[in-house]
Symmetry: C2
Subunit: 103 residues, 2 copies
């Protein structure tokens, strides 16, 4: 059974989010979804690329979805903001086999 | 036969790129690929969403790919930068039928 965990990407340094994703995946979560809005969208792409290229090399980028969300701004009216969802997954079985073999 | 045109998204106002995509699609191009790097990534998502929601409502977002590119920075060394490719397409046949019907 695949678990799905969501990491919301905001304005903190990119490595904070990378660490959150890596910690989850090493803890046995097989699928993490990165969600971001507005300017944080490019940071979400950075997080996905850094996790995949530097930390969890068997992680794969699954489906990427973009959408428009309505948010309430400071003046009390609605504005549209773009959003992205990036699915990151790795083969859960291989982790499980490795774990049961080594420990 | 589907044609593929590329629109590179940079730091200009978002509507400049929206206009470029809309002009191409109304001119008969059935598929446009938006490419962006670094902070322009969120602008590329904005362009795709605005084209689809406000101007060409039968346009669909196809595959979205993310990657890492190496670029030469000002100091002469290489840095990594994230990149995105967003495929926007509309049914070419329907446009063609409409055109031959009306003109």
């Amino acid at each position: 059974m695949s678990e799905e965990n969501i990491v919301y990407i905001g304005n903190k340094p990119v490595m904070n989010y990378v660490l959150a994703v890596v910690t989850q995946m090493n803890g046995g979560v097989s699928e993490v979804v990165l969600k971001a809005r507005g300017r944080a969208i490019s940071r979400a792409v950075d997080v996905a690329e850094i996790v995949k290229n530097r930390f969890i090399t068997d992680a794969k980028v699954g489906s990427i979805k973009i959408s428009t969300e309505e948010i309430l701004n400071n003046e009390g009216s609605n504005t549209n903001v773009s959003a992205i969802e990036i699915q990151l997954s790795k083969d859960a079985t291989s982790t499980w086999i490795l774990k049961s073999f080594w420990y």
